[in-house]
Amino acid sequence: MSSWLDYTINGLIVGNVYALVAVGLALIFGVSRLINFAQGSIYLVGAYIGWVAVVQLHTPLPLTIIVVAVAAALVGLIIERFGLRPLQNSVRIAPLLATIGISFVLDQLVMLTFSPNPRALPSQLPDVRFQIGGGTIGPLDLLIAGVGITSALLLFVFLRYSKLGWAIRATAQDRDAAMQMGVDVNRVNQAVFGIAAALGGISGLLVGMYYNQIDTAMSLQATLKGVVAEVVGGAGNVPGAVIGSLLLGLVESYGVAVFGTSYRNLFAFLLLVVVLVLRPNGLFASARQAPPEPLTGTFIAPSRPVRIPRWALLIATAVFAILPLLPVSFYVLQTLINASLLGMLALSLTLVAGTIGQVSLGHAALLAIGAYTSALLSLTFSVPVGLAIIGGGLMSAALGTALISPSFRLRGHYVSIATLAIGEIVSLVILNWESVTRGPIGISGIPPLSLFGYELVSPISIYWFSFIAMVVLALLQGRLLGSHLGRSFRAIRDDDIAARAYGLSLNRYKSLAFIFGGFAAGVSGGIAAHLYSYINHETFNTQQSILALTVVILGGLGNVVGAIVGAVALVGLPEVFRIAAEYRILIYGIVLLLLVRFRPQGLLGTM
């Protein structure tokens, strides 16, 4: 039986662990205005290096911590030198995307090396509990608290009294001015990435010991929690990140105490959304501070889109339309069906990211809403499947827009964080709202696709169905972007202050884009639900959101044809080359990295 004191202790201990991640994020954000989405991957690497040290090399605990810190710091230095430094003069979105790509690559490398199965990571500490007041505390709790407090003190002394520490603080406040004092900004970046990675790695080790288990899914969770804590404390604010982390730990722990374990993450993300909406500069930001990131226009790579003649598009459409009549295998059709589903999601994302500059990292949530709506309409209310799918699209449009609307006033990185959180919230609500969504069991026995009473079971009919849906959505979107409305969208993306000065109502246009985009994604999710016949809260996960983003970047942000070409390329090419499934995510990560480095405007150019 746990007491409130136990929950408080647990919250503070977990908060300490988050702090080790969040402080690193805050340092990096301070110096380079970048949210490092690879921070969780370093944490993962730290945990697995710790596992190798403890289980295979039998190192004593202090040595384990040192080994992990040094190894993780090395990974951080490599990321900075080869992943991010080449992007210094690139558009603002480039490093953000690069860290996402790097995290994919690192996570997959760990998974391929160690297999996705969880492993036990023993703490090497005696398993005793001391009574204090109404609660208990163990040696591991004390170790975590000790490491957390020691790191914070060391960091404070370093920043306040060392020359490099001064350089870091000066660079964080004014990069150009720091350079004019003779500060070598590259060295500062290096130092910051090294420190952040060392702390992140130690955090992974401690968490692994705390739960006596490590697995590759830890990575994304750690990034998310770190980001929540950092934003709550105020992006770039190091002491704020510590307090934000402890607060997050406590909120989660009390949330678990009252509602149960499956609510832990829900509380974390709700806290984030509340802070982002009410105090986007964090709880402790001074009112003086400028609004975060006035960086529209420079966020996305400008370019001239590649013009594709109309006849070429018509021929391509015709070829794909008659493809099933040719002797092609079931396997090819299956691949192209997947490509059209992804294509619809990419159309949706390219609209909101490429035309109003809202780079969403939670787009899979729109799929989930469409899928659940369509599945439940057809199962519970016996709505014909064709109509149910449209219902799914409408629900995604309405609910998606309503959910995202609080983040309309955010820009740049903050949009990405908010959409990521909203995506997680949707998934967690689906998990916990059992009376409607059937919770963790998921929905099975979803009726197959049908149209006017005819069931579509043959691959050919399913192919045509999804292909036509995608083409219709693409045509609509093309019309939309060519219209006056499309121009207004782009004006908002390029400079929302100027757009506002010309009398454009940002919220209205952002809503319109999300309504249209939400519909496309919802239809895609609806079709998927009937195709899979079983869905649960994990069917549409963050990985799909990132995949959609990669497709959109590949095709060129905002580019309608590009979204479809990107989807076909990303789904099709691994099939053509028969790349084993476990290497695919790795390939996607590498594709994203190469694109950001060498062709940030994508294959067909941004619009």
């Binding site: 000066a170 720091a178 004019q180 004092m181 003779g182």
Partner: protein, 246 residues
């Protein structure tokens, strides 16, 4: 104007600078003789601030050369240029707002490692800028504009530079502080530091400068000793946008 006088500490020779397609400088040549105060005058968008950035290595010219004490600065990073002995007082001061006044001034000595001498120089700054003495532990961002300008100048001097470049040092200051700042620039110069300053306010700048250049849409249209330029009617023209301004 391409021949560089032999005693030039800093020299820009035939510099052409572009931002994308747009050309900012056209065969720009400027030289700052050792021990002089040289002023670059010009209106908005004439390319003044870009000239500062070229000297500091923040912007790279497409062609031409920038030399300091006879050696080219092209290809050096900003920190390397600072280590050669050029300190800067950037436009709008650019203090580290959340660091204390003391930390800001000491940041100026970032390129130095001689602790005792740095401490002595800090004391020297406090005699040169007595007002800052009571403000040392205050956040730099909380000071008035004039006080911030003092901090920025002290910060620049802390690197013991051979030359200071200043971008509009009097901008946005009260008349009282404007006089004070000009006086200080003269004092600094008398101690042997060469000064290159960019200014919009011609009459003020010409009071303290030895030589001045007038920059108009990226070209030097006028050059001479400050004394001669003061009486030149064309100065006025250049400022009011002039009839030949294209």
């Amino acid at each position: 104007m391409t021949n560089t006088p032999p005693d030039a500490l800093l020299a820009l020779t035939d510099v052409n600078t572009f931002y994308g397609q747009a050309q900012v400088h056209f065969d720009l040549s400027i030289s700052v003789p050792r021990g002089h105060i040289v002023c670059l005058l010009g209106g908005n968008a004439s390319g003044k601030s870009t000239t500062m950035k070229i000297i500091l290595g923040l912007v790279k010219p497409r062609s031409g050369d920038v030399t300091f004490d006879g050696a080219s600065l092209l290809g050096l990073t900003t920190p390397q240029i600072v280590r050669r002995g050029i300190a800067s007082v950037p436009e709008a001061r650019r203090l580290f707002a959340d660091m204390s006044v003391r930390e800001n001034i000491l940041m100026g000595a970032f390129v130095r490692d001689d602790r005792e001498a740095i401490a002595q120089d800090l004391d020297k700054m406090l005699t040169l800028f007595p007002k800052l003495g009571q403000r040392l532990s205050q956040r730099a961002g909380s000071l008035s504009g004039g006080e911030q300008q003092m901090v920025a100048m002290a910060r620049a001097l802390m690197s013991r530079p051979r030359m200071i470049v200043m971008d509009e040092p009097t901008m946005g200051l009260s008349p009282l502080y404007v006089d004070r700042v000009l006086e200080l620039i003269r004092t600094i110069n008398q101690e042997g530091v060469s000064v290159f300053m960019v200014e919009q306010n011609a009459s003020l700048a010409l009071e303290i400068a030895h030589e001045a250049y007038v920059l108009q849409t990226g070209k030097i249209v006028l050059f001479g000793s400050a004394r001669a330029l003061k009486d030149d009617p064309r100065i006025r023209d250049a400022y009011l946008g002039g009839s030949e301004a294209a």
